[in-house]
């Protein structure tokens, strides 16, 4: 009796300090991402702005993946496909505006590119989701991977758009007022998008929809027993997640101005997944932390040695073996509940 009454406030206080700590980390993260690249760029370190832009764009994709992976327990291994689709939604209309042909979609208009990117990724997610979500566990991992690979081969065989060699985007998406040709503007757009998307994902995970997804993750049969058909909720989340990654692809296409099927390769999907898991799938900002660590590590290691994949792979293996819930778990001491897959 006494133990329960004394334990409860203590527990609550633990949670409170933990929430404060997480809030502090989040605020710090936002502040760093807002100030550091800008300062570096203005002091002449333009290269670092490139690194940070790529990092923020991939963080958007990782947050998108985490919506189904962390929240819904759906381990999709094919999310690079959406990035590729989003990027080609910029590249193909731009290509036709420059070289003619396909008048219906030939435009530099950014709103058209954006709408195309989001629609195509939503459709691809819907069609593949309808089939993939009928499977569970390891079949789901593999079927999402196979669908992404299917898209990869489809793009490779499109000789018009460069096939294997890829496609150069000569003109970036055009918007009124702002110009994506300015690196700082592009970074600002990506950064603000990241903040908005993290906020949206936060709202989604605490909504009834998000709770249903979490319920489906922990016990789908029980959800069915209380009268919830998880399938349509999972499908909706799958589509949302695909759309977010398609948006990241739209930004990435505008950032790199060179797109190729290689960006949809299954190893790319693996990298986004690594970002999510490395950072911690249970923590809202986990994927962002994961993307930061991943990109910075990739850059630093590749500066040191051309064989940087070796230490990188070893780090990955060690982090799986010894760091069970990602880097964010270091911040969440008392939290034992993990965002495990199925």
């Amino acid at each position: 009796m006494t133990t329960t009454t004394s334990a409860r406030p203590d527990h609550r206080q633990n949670r409170n300090t933990e929430t404060t700590r997480l809030l502090l980390v989040s605020a710090l993260l936002v502040l760093i991402l807002a100030i550091l690249p800008t300062v570096l760029y203005l002091t002449g370190h333009t290269f670092w702005l490139d690194i940070f832009t790529r990092l923020v764009i991939l963080a958007i994709a990782a947050v998108g993946l985490n919506l189904i992976l962390g929240l819904g327990g759906m381990v999709s291994f094919g999310h690079a496909a959406y990035i590729g689709l989003g990027a080609y939604a910029v590249g193909i209309p731009a290509y036709h505006s420059t070289y003619g042909g396909m008048d219906a979609i030939a435009t530099y208009n950014g709103f058209f590119h954006l709408a195309l990117a989001l629609t195509v990724s939503a459709l691809f997610a819907l069609v593949t989701g309808i089939i993939s979500l009928r499977t569970r566990g390891v079949n789901f991992i593999m079927i999402t991977m196979a669908f992404a690979q299917m898209m990869y081969y489809a793009i490779v065989s499109l000789e018009t758009y460069g096939g294997d060699d890829g496609l150069t985007i000569d003109v970036r998406s055009e918007f009124p007022i702002i110009s994506l040709d300015d690196p700082l503007t592009l970074y600002a757009v990506s950064f603000i998008s990241l903040i908005i998307i993290v906020f949206l994902v936060h709202r989604i995970s605490n909504s009834r929809f998000g709770l249903t997804l979490q319920g489906a993750r922990s016990n789908e049969e029980r959800m069915l027993a209380i009268g919830v058909n998880c399938y349509k909720y999972q499908l909706a989340a799958f589509v949302m997640s695909g759309v977010i990654c398609g948006y990241a692809g739209f930004l990435l296409g505008n950032f790199t101005t060179f797109i190729s099927p290689e960006m949809m390769d299954w190893t790319r999907s693996g990298e986004i997944m690594i970002m999510v898991i490395l950072g911690g799938a249970t923590f809202l900002w986990g994927p962002v932390i994961g993307a930061i660590v991943f990109i910075i590590l990739e850059y630093v290691l590749s500066e040191v040695t051309v064989y940087w994949h070796l230490p990188f792979g070893l780090l990955l293996i060690f982090s799986v073996l010894f760091l069970r819930n990602g880097l964010a778990s270091v911040l969440q001491r008392s939290h034992s509940q993990a965002g495990k897959g199925q």
Partner: protein, 307 residues
């Protein structure tokens, strides 16, 4: 003429199917018994090819090289299992995927360091690089026939091993209830290591057989592993019979799609449209097949009954 082309493509399809079976057998065994998802299985296929390439150049005999490379690949698999994989059995599939992804990065880089970035071609002995005339006008490269022969032999050996030996009985028992097998006094750890090494050797054999046709190159494993996954998903994960039939199905459909789809499309649409659409569709054909099969049977064609 038309008939001989058909026959040649049939044998090409069979050859691809046999190679896919050698790869998927190991994958499906590891998954069926240990519930372990191994993305690095393709890396063992690549290792087999590189071992064989080096040994062929060193010993001067392709056959001898295969005989030496087989235990070497098995040893590599065994070490991999002992060092990393063994510690992951009680984790979830996501951890398996991430750790074996890390393994791919490591193995690819190590191969890059040892053998360099270029691929290595394997010269075939004269008696294998010729052609065989089956009957009038139908000429086939003898090496492709050898691949089919060796692959079928390996499949038969595997069938006997799994269904008619004590070890096979333990493997099947482990697949249906590994805790019970452990409780009955079987050294489950050793069984797991052995099965993993066996799967590695089979994947390595596939790599050794294909290397003289393509060449041993970095990335050859990453390319084929996805197709292998498609095979074991279609066949039903954990089922040896499913893996065999699905491998042949995928091999044949992929080969026939690539060689005959444009002719077929020309019946339906203009020549120009057919020539644009056919390569794209034929590259996607096996995935479309997988999607259709899974839409009706989410557990694959021959799911193992005990799981």
């Amino acid at each position: 003429m038309e008939f001989s082309l058909l026959l040649i493509q049939l044998l090409n399809g069979l050859q691809l199917g046999i190679l896919l079976f050698l790869l998927s057998a190991g994958l499906t065994l590891t998954f069926g018994i240990m519930d372990f998802v191994n993305l690095a299985h393709g890396a063992l296929y690549m290792l087999g090819a590189f071992f064989c390439a080096s040994l062929t150049l060193y010993t001067g005999s392709f056959i001898l090289a295969i005989l030496l490379a087989l235990p070497l690949t098995a040893l590599a698999g065994y070490l991999l299992e002992k060092l990393v994989v063994q510690h992951l059995y009680d984790r979830n599939h996501l951890d398996h995927v991430l750790a074996t992804f890390g393994l791919i990065l490591c193995i690819d880089t190590i191969v890059h360091i040892i053998w360099g970035p270029q691929g290595i071609a394997i010269p075939l002995p004269a008696w294998l690089s010729g052609q065989v005339e089956l009957f009038d006008g139908v000429v086939l490269p003898s090496y492709r026939l050898l691949i089919i022969g060796v692959g079928l032999l390996a499949a038969a050996g595997l069938y006997v091993l799994v269904n008619h030996t004590r070890l096979g009985m333990l493997i099947r028992a482990g697949a249906s209830n590994r805790k019970m097998v452990g409780a009955l006094g079987v050294d489950i750890t050793a069984l797991f290591s052995g099965v993993f090494a066996l799967g590695a050797a089979l994947a390595g054999l596939a790599g050794m057989l294909i290397a003289p046709i393509t060449e041993a190159s970095i990335g050859m494993g990453s390319d084929i592993i996805i197709t292998t996954f498609v095979v074991i998903i279609i066949g039903g994960i954990g089922s040896m019979k499913g893996a065999f039939l699905a491998a042949l199905l995928v091999g044949l459909i992929d080969t026939f799609g690539r060689s005959f789809l444009d002719d077929f499309f020309k019946l339906l649409m203009s020549t120009e449209a057919a020539e644009t659409a056919a390569p794209a569709v034929s590259a996607m054909l096996i995935y479309i097949l997988m999607a259709i099969i899974l839409a009706f049977r989410p557990q694959g064609l021959f799911p193992p009954l005990s799981r």
